[in-house]
Symmetry: C2
Subunit: 152 residues, 2 copies
DNA sequence: CAGAACTTCTGGACTCAGTCAAGAGTTTGA
DNA sequence: TCAAACTCTTGACTGAGTCCAGAAGTTCTG
């Protein structure tokens, strides 16, 4: 949880491809070129929108339909292989860091998004004061502010 | 922080109307019947969507345009008289509890939303580990889970 | 390695939340 | 009271995301 952020795009990598394939299979999803390309794109471009991911995938494998991108992103998010975040006023964005309880810092001016490690330890934010009988599985934290550029 | 939630709708109340008017004036906004009705509606129906608020206001004052509702909600949120929240997969929702650093508990099944007081004290969540030079003004926390009804 | 069964992809139409623009109407402050 | 400034209405529009049905691809069984 205090690991480095690993935000830099990662090179196309056979070992990673392999791992993507294993992730798909062990989640009961079929393995297709489109899905592998989408997973690679999410890893390469963290916080990208569905549209941006579509662009990236088209550059990589030639063509893909919008529907296939939405279907795949939805399926991957369902299986918790990727995470969907949706700041107010912005289309949904996707990232591959899952299960490490990190949060996001969003600029009110330019919508720039940064990852932030949890300030208060391991999974403190999962401890709600009164859970109303809910079975809580995730706490999503978004910090709002202005980035250095937009403060001027 | 262990107070009751005060989520039950409040009756139409001249004293509250008065206060709405003062809030508008001191924020430099003009006072109109539409705006008062919208503020009342946000108070009466916490976590309502723009569309639901439009319905409530129409019941109250006869008619209002969708645009007026969006303009007013935007202006009120700008002035921090109300707060806009937008859980993933749901249209924007509005509430009148501002400035008390409370959070939200959302059901993945039925989208039911509860208010939750901050678990960790006053404004702990405004303390990000690394602020990347941002000027942070708000931390938004959403707990995701399943309500008692949807767990079955 | 074939064929069947199942899953995924494509393309197009569609829905829904929200925005833009221009003109009419209302509120405010001198 | 009157002009300036602000707000509301109407209607068209945008952009993200969904629905549908048929075509194509993948996996399983023998």
């Amino acid at each position: 949880m205090t690991d480095a952020l690993e935000q830099e795009p990662q090179a196309h990598d056979p070992i990673e491809q392999q791992s993507f394939e294993q992730q798909l299979r062990s989640s009961g999803l079929q393995v297709t070129a489109q899905r592998l390309a989408i997973m690679q794109a999410v890893t390469d471009g963290p916080h990208a929108t569905a549209e941006e991911l579509t662009e990236i995938v088209r550059d990589k494998i030639g063509s893909i339909s919008r529907q296939a991108v939405y279907d795949t992103l939805g399926a991957l998010a369902d299986k918790r292989l990727i995470r969907r975040i949706q700041p107010t006023g912005s289309p949904a964005r996707f990232e591959d860091r899952v299960g490490d309880n990190h949060h996001h810092l969003v600029c009110r001016g330019c919508s720039l998004i940064f990852d932030i490690d949890c300030a208060v330890g391991t999974t403190p934010c999962l401890t709600a004061d009164d859970d109303h009988g809910f079975e809580i599985d995730e706490a999503e934290v978004v910090y709002w502010g202005r980035c250095p550029d937009c403060r001027t």
